[in-house]
């Protein structure tokens, strides 16, 4: 279990009484939680309980039917339109571009995030996740594990204050899972706020706070 306190900066996320439904189908009724810098908030629940939906709501990609979500950067509340600057996201429902190679993908995300082309940073990002920056294979030729590593590199590229990880270990080999655990622990120690949706017992142990969803 991770618990890191005494963090002086970073982004705190709190959400209260969050509900989501599509027409008459209720996804979840009332979910509350909080994650501070240096903490890993683990969201668990069976398939179909709404873990990914909750993460999408917390990222600002979906609007909740009810409830309040707040991003606090110190004492300053971050406006919804600015949440994206604080976020790095890895999720099975979010893909990188298959017709680009790994470096082109990171280069694109660096440019649209206003970081400039920064080839050096892209190379370092790829090396950090165990991908060869000089390999110019298009992503469509990647294994699922390699694509997952690239998605993680994309999420970390702009050094976000908040990491949202939806089943991050899926498709990774044992060595990749070891690397991921080590990296998530290091990121939490460095003061990142981490939201993690998983049913993997090993990943659940990383959490300092837990939210359990039910069907």
């Amino acid at each position: 279990m991770l618990s890191f306190s005494a963090m002086t900066s970073g982004t705190r996320i709190s959400f209260s009484d969050v509900a989501k439904r599509y027409d008459l189908r209720v996804i979840f009724k009332s979910v509350s939680g909080e994650a501070a810098p240096g903490e890993v908030l683990v969201i668990t629940g069976p398939n179909g309980s709404g873990k990914s939906t909750l993460l999408s709501i917390l990222c600002g990609l979906l609007r909740p039917t009810r409830g309040e979500i707040r991003y606090l950067d110190g004492d300053h509340e971050v406006g919804r339109q600015d949440w994206r600057f604080h976020l790095g996201v890895v999720a099975p429902s979010m893909a990188v571009y298959e017709e680009l190679d790994a470096r082109e993908n990171l280069g694109f995300f660096a440019r649209v995030r206003g970081m400039g082309p920064s080839d050096k940073r892209c190379r370092e990002g790829l090396l950090a996740v165990g991908l060869d920056p000089d390999r110019r294979t298009l992503v469509r030729g990647f294994s699922t594990g390699m694509a997952q590593r690239l998605k993680i590199a994309q999420a970390l590229l702009h050094d976000p204050a908040v990491l949202v990880l939806d089943e991050p270990g899926s498709n990774l080999d044992p060595a990749g899972k070891d690397w991921l655990e080590e990296h998530v622990r290091a990121l939490a120690i460095s003061g990142k706020t981490i939201l993690l949706a998983t049913n993997d017992p090993r990943e659940m142990e990383w959490g300092s706070r837990h939210v359990a969803l039910a069907v």
């Binding site: 609007r63 996201v89 979010m94 893909a95 571009y97 680009l100 694109f108 440019r111 649209v112």
Partner: protein, 226 residues
């Protein structure tokens, strides 16, 4: 401002790069335009239309080919992002304004590439004589721009719908019909050497393009984020 422009150009460059690697939109636009052009030039040709009717009827045929070719391929810019599940990361990474302008630049490149290939070929095969050539080029440029603006915002609106193809045509046609009428009038004027008609057309298309650009820029963040 420069940062926003750089982000938008990154979106356009990414789209152009992926398009050159897959050629889905280029093939849709190009093959539709060439097939219809071949069919029209074979069945109608330059001599089956009376000389006095040529400026108008050939303008009608030209813009019908351009518009329907555009409808066949320009919705891809947003539909592809949704189908390949890349839209959520793009939403999180880029500002809506940069995405809108980047997609517009990409659609402009496609429509101008289509026109550059199609229009000279059409004029040669159909024997379409243009008296006011610079005015004709201005009409093509403005018409292509307005067409791209309208199709870009409609493509964004329909991208998450289930019946995308049908919706794209249904929503685009009412917006594009007035534009098509203006462009046909202007092209007829350019062919006949009627400067007044051409001037009025350029004013009308410029106004429509300006209005659609402002409306799209305001509407897009809502369409993209909700």
């Amino acid at each position: 401002m420069w940062r926003w422009l750089s982000e938008a150009l990154a979106v356009a460059a990414k789209d152009l790069r992926t398009e050159f690697r897959t050629r889905v939109a280029l093939n849709s636009l190009g093959l539709f335009a060439l097939t219809v052009l071949a069919a029209v030039s074979y069945t109608v040709g330059p001599y089956r239309i009376a000389v006095e009717d040529r400026p108008f009827l050939l303008a009608v045929l030209l813009w019908i080919i351009v518009f329907f070719a555009a409808l066949a391929g320009l919705d891809r810019s947003f539909v592809k992002e949704e189908e390949s599940h890349t839209a959520p990361l793009l939403r999180l990474a880029a500002s809506p304004a940069a995405v809108w302008f980047g997609k517009l630049v990409y659609n402009l490149c496609l429509i101008y590439a289509l026109m550059a290939m199609l229009v000279p070929l059409y004029c040669i095969l159909m024997g379409y004589k243009i008296v006011l050539l610079p005015a004709f080029v201005v009409i093509l440029v403005l018409g292509g721009f307005t067409l791209a603006v309208v199709t870009t915002i409609i493509a964004a609106i329909i991208a998450r719908a289930m019946t995308r193809g049908a919706l794209f045509s249904v929503l685009s046609l009412p917006l594009l019909l007035p534009l098509m009428i203006f462009l046909i009038q202007g092209t007829t004027g350019a062919s006949e050497g009627n400067a007044e008609t051409v001037t009025n057309t350029i004013r009308a298309v410029l106004s429509m393009g300006g209005i659609m650009t402002i409306v799209s820029a305001v509407l897009f963040p809502v369409v993209w984020n909700e």
